[in-house]
C-alpha cells in the first residue's frame, strides 16, 4: 500500500482511538497494532503533528514505577476533524464498493 495513503488512514485511526479514551503513545501503538501493522516511527510523528495542529491536548500522569507518561486527549477541534474524516472515508469506501461491486466484493 502507498505509504502516504496508509499514513492518512493511520492518522484517522489515531484520532478514533483517542476519541474513545485518553491514551499514552505506547498504549495507542499496541491498540492499533492489534488490527493494523504500525510502528512507533509512524505513530509518534502523527501524534506530535496533530497535537501541534490543536487536535490533541496532552497531560502527564505519574506512574507508581518509572517516569510519568504523556497522555493524549481529543480536543473539540479534533472531534470535528474526526467527524469530517469519517464522513469522507465512508463516502470514499461507498464509491470504491460501487466500482468493485458491493461491500461483499471478492475477486
Amino acid at each position: 500500500m502507498n505509504s502516504q495513503f496508509k499514513r492518512g488512514i493511520i492518522e484517522m485511526c489515531v484520532l478514533k482511538m483517542i476519541s474513545r479514551e485518553d491514551m499514552y503513545g505506547f498504549q495507542l501503538i499496541e491498540s492499533i497494532s492489534q488490527e493494523v501493522e504500525v510502528n512507533e516511527n509512524t505513530v509518534y510523528p502523527i501524534l506530535r503533528r496533530l497535537t501541534k495542529q490543536g487536535l490533541f491536548d496532552t497531560y502527564s500522569k505519574s506512574m507508581s514505577i518509572g517516569a510519568p507518561r504523556k497522555y493524549y486527549s481529543l480536543t473539540s477541534e479534533g472531534k470535528e476533524k474526526l467527524d469530517e474524516y469519517e464522513t469522507e472515508w465512508r463516502n470514499f469506501l461507498d464509491g470504491v464498493y460501487r466500482i468493485l461491486g458491493g461491500s461483499n466484493y471478492e475477486e
Binding site: 499514552y24 503513545g25 505506547f26 516511527n41 510523528p45 506530535r48 517516569a67
Partner: protein
C-alpha cells in the same frame, strides 16, 4: 545504552531546523518508548532494534524539516581561491618539474573543493558518493598514465556504485545491502581470478548473487534446499572440471538441479518492496555494462552505466536543493570519460569539471 540511543538521536536532530520544544518532544517520546519496551522485558539491544537505529529513522522523523546549513569556515573564499591555487600548482609542476602531464590533474582539486565545502554544510551523507568519481578518476588516470594499467585500472570505478549503495545502508536491511553489493564483489573477484588465469572456473563467484537473493525466500526449508543445490552445483562443477581433462564444457551440468528448482520456484515472496527499485537499477546497469562490454568491447567506458546507481540514489534521497550539486560530478565524469577516451583529449576534457564549482556558485546566488 538508552542515554547513548537518545544522544545519537539528539545529535542527528540537531542537524535540522526545528524548535527546541519539538526536538525535546521527539527525544521524550523516544525515551518513553524505550522505557515502555523495557517494561515489557526487552533488553537494550532488542529495544534499539525495535525502535530502529537513529540514522535509519531520522528521515521519517524530520520529514518536512530542512537541514541546518553550517558553512565551513571561509568556505566561499576557499571555493573562490581553488582555481588560482590549482593554476599556480599546475604552473609550478609544469615549469619547475616539466610535469605538464599529468600535472593538469591538479585542476580536479577545484570541483573536489567545491563539493566538500558545499555538501559539508549539511553533513550530507552522500558527500563520499559525490567525491568518489574524482578519487576513482585520479587513481584510474595515474595508473593509466604512469604504469599503463588502463586495464584492470578501470576497476577502481567500481567504488562509485559501491559508495552509492554503502551510503544508503541505513535505509536498507543488512541482507539487502549485501545483495546490492554482491554483483560488484563478485565482478571484482571474477576479474582478479581471471587475471590469474581462472576465467573458466572463476565465474562461480557470480553464484554469490543468487545465493544472497535466495536468503529473502520466506520458506526456510525451501531456502535451505536451494542453497544446498547451489553449493552442490559449485562443488560439483569445480570437482569435475579440475579432475577430468576437457570436462569444463559439461561440468556446468551440476547446476541443473539448482536451475530446475529456480525455474519451478517462481513464487518468490520478497519482503523488500522498498528496495526493488534499487535492484532494478542495479540489474539494468549490469545488463547494459555487459552488453556494451561484450558487443562493443567498450570495457574502458561501459562502467559508466554503474553511475546510474549512485545517481538514482541521489535523485531519490538527496533534497532538491542539494541534488544538482551532488549530480554534477557524475555528469562531468561521464562527459570527461567519453571525450577523454574517444577523442583522446584527456588534457582538455578535465575542463568539464569546472561545471561543478560553477553549479555550486550558481546555486548559492
Amino acid at each position: 545504552m538508552k542515554s547513548k540511543y537518545l544522544e545519537d538521536l539528539k545529535n542527528l536532530l540537531d542537524d535540522y531546523q526545528m524548535d527546541e520544544s519539538e526536538r525535546l518532544d521527539i527525544i521524550n517520546d523516544y525515551s518513553e518508548m524505550y522505557d515502555s519496551w523495557g517494561d515489557k522485558g526487552l533488553m537494550n539491544d532488542e529495544i534499539s532494534k525495535k525502535l530502529g537505529h537513529p540514522r535509519s529513522i531520522i528521515k521519517e522523523l524530520t520529514e518536512g524539516y530542512r537541514k541546518v546549513e553550517r558553512p565551513l569556515p571561509g568556505s566561499e573564499k576557499v571555493i573562490s581561491l581553488s582555481p588560482f591555487v590549482a593554476t599556480i600548482a599546475f604552473l609550478i609542476l609544469g615549469f619547475g618539474l616539466d610535469l605538464w602531464h599529468p600535472g593538469w590533474m591538479v585542476f580536479l582539486l577545484i570541483p573536489v573543493t567545491a563539493i566538500i565545502m558545499e555538501m559539508g554544510k549539511t553533513k550530507n551523507e552522500h558527500l563520499s558518493t559525490a567525491l568518489s568519481p574524482f578519487v576513482a578518476t585520479t587513481i584510474f588516470l595515474l595508473l593509466g598514465f604512469l604504469y599503463d594499467l588502463w586495464h584492470p585500472g578501470w576497476m577502481i570505478f567500481i567504488i562509485i556504485p559501491v559508495m552509492g549503495i554503502w551510503n544508503s545502508r541505513y535505509t536498507m536491511k543488512k541482507i539487502d545491502l549485501l545483495t546490492a553489493l554482491s554483483p560488484f564483489i563478485a565482478g571484482t573477484a571474477y576479474i582478479v581470478l581471471g587475471m590469474y588465469g581462472y576465467w573458466v572456473e572463476g565465474w562461480v563467484v557470480f553464484m554469490l548473487i543468487p545465493m544472497l537473493g535466495i536468503l529473502h525466500h520466506k520458506n526456510k526449508a525451501m531456502m535451505l534446499l536451494w542453497e544446498l543445490l547451489a553449493i552442490a552445483g559449485i562443488v560439483g562443477y569445480l570437482y569435475i572440471g579440475t579432475t577430468y581433462a576437457d570436462s569444463w564444457q559439461y561440468a556446468w551440468l551440476t547446476f541443473v538441479p539448482f536451475i530446475i528448482l529456480s525455474f519451478f520456484n517462481g513464487d518468490w515472496e520478497i519482503t523488500v518492496d522498498k528496495n526493488n527499485d534499487y535492484r532494478l537499477v542495479i540489474a539494468l546497469s549490469i545488463a547494459a555494462f555487459l552488453l556494451t562490454g561484450f558487443l562493443l568491447n567498450a570495457w574502458v567506458v561501459c562502467w559508466l552505466f554503474f553511475l546510474s546507481i549512485p545517481v538514482y540514489s541521489i535523485i531519490k534521497e538527496v533534497g532538491p536543493k542539494e541534488r544538482i550539486v551532488a549530480l554534477t560530478p557524475f555528469i562531468a565524469v561521464t562527459i570527461f570519460m567519453l571525450v577523454g577516451y574517444y577523442a583522446e583529449l584527456w588534457h582538455l576534457a578535465w575542463i568539464i569539471f569546472i561545471i561543478i564549482p560553477m553549479t555550486a556558485v550558481v546555486k548559492n546566488t
